[in-house]
Symmetry: C2
Subunit: 321 residues, 2 copies
């Protein structure tokens, strides 16, 4: 980190909201703002509004000389090209050269990557992965994302899109249909939507009592399952057990790949705490090769969820060259 | 490569034989020798004989000032520690500080890693991966090994043992028992022994004619299956199809991890050529996420099999510090 430039900017672009913040070297957000992503169907309008808001924030902290760089976490953000490429949930189609568009407006270098990679860098810079050189970040939200860190660097691969661990195949027969068009992906089981699908499946194929039977099965959410589980509902508890077991099995294969020191979990599902962590740790240890048994840590993110996206993106801002 | 020191030493330690060679910067083996690994139950005796043979070779090419370093490929060789750790097929039990023992005798720095990682470095230095920064080496022999290269570096992980892709789980139900004690590992299907197991399974569960029915099912080898397949035997052809399909499915998951430019295949099974390559490429493309379809190369090693182990190990010798 360049001490002459005390701040980095983090921008998290989601399908609904764009959140931006100015962050200091200790990970405190000193100024922030947000805007609605979907309101701007033209990328030029979006960039105009974004850079206008950014300039206001930057002036507040002392001007652009105080900013080391801008980091952006965005769906399908490509670190190598600075583009957002074919992101299904964003209003701009095709390939959007976002990094260049912003730098052209505001004169500050921009790094971009996907949100899970940004979360990994954030965790390494400010969170549970401080001091770690080898770890895997797993984001458990609407989908399952991942950021893989090896020797202190995020793995981008040959094309910038490495780390799609939500799409490893966990069920090669009778697998659930995934948004990616294939079947049996980890994401169809271990995301918040996966938890809801599992609950619906259990309710249909079993006959035992459950608090969840009071709800419309089509509208059950992972939050409903959690609420039932903490009241001791057996079926709901088994949904988390199923989900955690699937994750632990998948993690054992990930360890065979990169032998990380730890796997770090982030996102909505981690609110389930022990309900999800206990079966993960059990299944992981049962499925690991002997040399790794009992040696791989699984921990929750240490970043506050509301700040994590901006912090993660800002951490990428420190790395601009 | 240091042009003042024109040679590197490569040593391949196998359960049966140890082969050593002196290699120049273009990958020519200029001198070589071998010895029986199993004859030396005491590591001290083994190191004495090995370094004595090495010294003779080194004198031939102009003395130890001409040697940049020594690279060793050995089962369970740990790059970080220079140790061979708990290798089941070698005569020395426990943890053997081989790199230090050799350097102490001969005064030349030693790097050590497992054989698949050595093969990956060899391929990058002299073979099909020249110029590639991101690729995965898969060795298809008695077992299935792997060496993963990201940003031009072999992935060793937190403990030095990363890259055990022969042990990702391909069948979570009714999987074949693996030598590692778990069930359903890729290695139980896609190794030479896996091919023989598949043939036996097909012969038992099917009734159609096959040249393989003339053989004792217990002694069928992958070579027998190959010989039958090139004569057009339908069952034998389907064994290769099954094997290649399993590999292609596994590779699609590997691509989700590190997005390599290519997957490079090495080892006995690659002699099957198109019989194994065609189903691999087909299954890989069918199972890849859209962004990678048609973009990941699968190629055979370009190193002569008899030289590859020594070349791969020697490539590690260039990297000593």
């Amino acid at each position: 980190m360049n001490t002459n430039k005390p701040y980095a900017v983090g921008i998290d672009i989601g399908g609904t909201n764009t959140v931006m913040g100015i962050v200091d070297a200790r990970g405190s957000i000193v100024a922030q703002d947000s805007m609605k992503t979907q309101q701007y169907t033209e990328i030029e309008d979006y960039v105009n509004e974004l850079t206008s808001k950014l300039s206001t924030l930057i002036e507040k902290v002392g001007g652009s000389d105080t900013i080391k760089g801008i980091g952006i976490g965005a769906p399908n953000g490509n670190y190598y090209t600075g583009n957002i490429e074919l992101a299904p949930n964003l209003p701009w189609k095709g390939i959007v050269p976002l990094a260049n568009l912003i730098t052209a407006k505001i004169g500050i270098p921009v790094n971009i990557t996907n949100d899970a990679n940004a979360a990994a860098i954030g965790e390494m810079t400010y969170g549970a992965a401080r001091g770690m050189k080898n770890f895997i970040m797993i984001t458990l939200g609407t989908g399952v994302g991942s950021g893989i860190v090896i020797d202190g660097n995020v793995v981008y691969g040959n094309d910038g899109f490495a780390g799609e661990l939500g799409h490893v195949i966990m069920r090669r027969e009778h697998g659930r249909l995934c948004g990616c068009g294939r079947k049996g992906c980890l994401e169809t089981y271990a995301s918040a939507t996966g938890v809801a699908r599992t609950a619906k499946e259990f309710l249909q194929t079993r006959t035992d009592e459950s608090l969840l039977r009071k709800l419309d099965p089509e509208s059950i959410t992972s939050k409903d399952v959690f609420d039932a589980a903490i009241q001791g509902d057996k079926l709901a508890l088994e949904v988390f057990d199923f989900t955690g077991t699937m994750l632990g099995e998948a993690f054992a294969d990930f360890v065979s790949f990169s032998a990380p020191e730890a796997i770090i979990l982030f996102g909505g599902l981690t609110k389930a705490g022990k309900l999800i962590m206990d079966p993960i740790v059990k299944a992981l240890d049962e499925n690991l090769l002997k040399i790794w048994k009992g040696k791989i840590k699984v921990v929750f993110s240490e970043l506050k969820e509301s700040d994590a996206a901006v912090l993660g993106a800002s951490a990428l801002g420190w790395e601009v060259k």
